[in-house]
């Protein structure tokens, strides 16, 4: 169950699960800090994310920090990461969560992990490569009808000179080809030049 806890006068999400590193624990719950996780930033900015008991495909799992919170809530989390050093840590994190399945593969080529990933209720993506929209489009077939997609857009990884708002719109437009785009939520002040596009299959 996700809870909300008070830390330094702010309301943050928190989950129940084994402590990972140095995250704060309040009333036995792991504080999910919006400056350390874009998913937490989205939650604090009122993005609704029905993670409880969901099957989740998580693209860009990094060192596994955010996937660990998601795995505290979800039924199954398939976490894909391709950079070797973060992936090494993600595997260690996965050992502490028995429904977190680490996949060392390139999210731009989902055919590789297709024999392992089941139908999912949620597609969450935070990859910092070019062509962020393309990655989500290629992975859309895993998402069930009515399932939700959350695509973090990092304006700077596409083009350092472009206006972030234009970049968000461009990504949302491309996602519109295979999803129904609901809205785009800016992640400031927690993350500069980042937004999450919320969509439905």
């Amino acid at each position: 169950m996700m809870r909300w806890v008070e830390v330094d006068g702010e309301r943050y999400p928190a989950t129940q699960g084994e402590q990972l590193r140095d995250e704060r624990v309040v009333d036995g719950a792991r504080v999910w800090h919006p400056r350390r996780s874009k998913a937490a930033a989205a939650l604090v900015k009122d993005v609704e994310m029905p993670l409880e008991d969901a099957r989740v495909l998580y693209l860009g799992g990094g060192a596994g920090t955010t996937p660990s919170y998601v795995a505290d809530l979800a039924r199954a989390v398939y976490a894909v990461e391709f950079a070797p050093s973060p992936a090494k840590r993600m595997v260690e994190v996965a050992e502490t969560r028995d429904r977190l399945f680490p996949i060392f593969a390139d999210a731009r080529d989902p055919s590789e992990y297709a024999p392992v990933v089941e139908e999912v209720d949620i597609l969450y993506q935070d990859v910092a490569t070019r062509g962020q929209a393309e990655v989500a489009v290629k992975n859309a077939p895993f998402l069930r009808d009515g399932g939700r997609a959350y695509v973090v857009v990092k304006a700077r990884s596409e083009d350092v000179t472009a206006e972030p708002a234009e970049k968000y719109e461009e990504v949302a437009d491309r996602l519109g080809d295979v999803f129904d785009v609901d809205r785009t939520v800016d992640l400031s002040p927690f993350y500069d030049d980042h937004a999450v596009v919320v969509a439905r299959r």
């Binding site: 050093s85 399945f101 996949i103």
Partner: protein
């Protein structure tokens, strides 16, 4: 498409499934596995999948880290060699031109251009790969210096185990041994000298700057080796430290 559990129920099955691949689709794989009698329940399916994916990922990641490290080390040694060769050829060609007003062997000019191209491509490779292997070290030192430090240490693992006083003089082994023989003062820095935070700090404070930089680089290497996530705050802390050191001066 063959789901992983039709190839077995362990990490080998997952690895074979990855190699084979398939068409992405929304399929209830746990249900299918139970129907086919491979597992008794969905929970058993997930238990086996967890063990298999963790083991398969560990194998592949270990291989990839190893390869990435070998690539970065070889690339930076090649870069140094190409730089030396370029300098040497440039020197020869300059002498030749000074003496005769021309260089009458066309292939020499072409060879020089090829060397330069190779150098630039090698540098591009290092700039792309080192941040994947050592994101924090690259963020603080720049990818090329980060790669040189990894190469001098003999690996990221070795670098992460070094005290920062050793990192500070990596690449200055000759000067260090002269000092240990009693013939010279201790070296203040090794290859980290090329970092603007050392080179562009006044001579009086350069030793302090080198010590501060080496300290943060050591922490960065440890985070890269044992955690792997990018922590931008390390760069901010280093910026502040250097600013304070430079502020003492004058």
């Amino acid at each position: 498409m063959t789901p992983w559990f039709e190839r077995g129920t362990d990490a080998d099955a997952v690895e074979r499934a990855f190699d084979e691949g398939g068409e992405p689709a929304a399929r209830d794989l746990p249900e299918q596995a139970v129907e086919e009698g491979v597992f008794g329940t969905r929970e058993e399916y997930y238990d086996a999948l967890h063990e298999a994916t963790v083991e398969a990922a560990r194998r592949r990641v270990d291989d990839a880290v190893d390869t990435a490290e070998r690539d970065v080390i070889n690339a930076v040694r090649t870069l140094e060699s190409l730089n030396e060769q370029l300098n040497e050829v440039d020197e020869r060609v300059r002498d030749w031109r000074d003496e005769t007003g021309r260089v009458p062997v066309e292939d020499v000019v072409e060879a020089r251009e090829a060397l330069e191209e190779g150098r630039d491509e090698t540098r591009g490779f290092i700039e792309e790969r080192t941040p994947e292997l050592a994101p924090n070290l690259s963020n603080l030192a720049g990818p090329v210096l980060a790669a040189r430090l990894v190469a001098l240490a003999g690996g990221l693992d070795e670098l992460a185990r070094m005290p920062s006083s050793t990192v500070q003089v990596l690449g200055a082994e000759d000067a260090l041994f002269r000092h240990l023989r009693g013939d010279a003062p201790p070296p203040k820095h090794g290859v980290i000298y090329v970092h603007p935070y050392v080179r562009e700090t006044s001579a009086d404070e350069r030793g302090s700057a080198a010590r501060a930089l080496a300290g943060k680089l050591t922490i960065a290497a440890r985070v890269d080796r044992y955690a792997g996530d990018l922590r931008p705050e390390l760069a901010d802390e280093l910026d502040e430290k250097i600013e304070r050191i430079r502020g003492r001066d004058g």
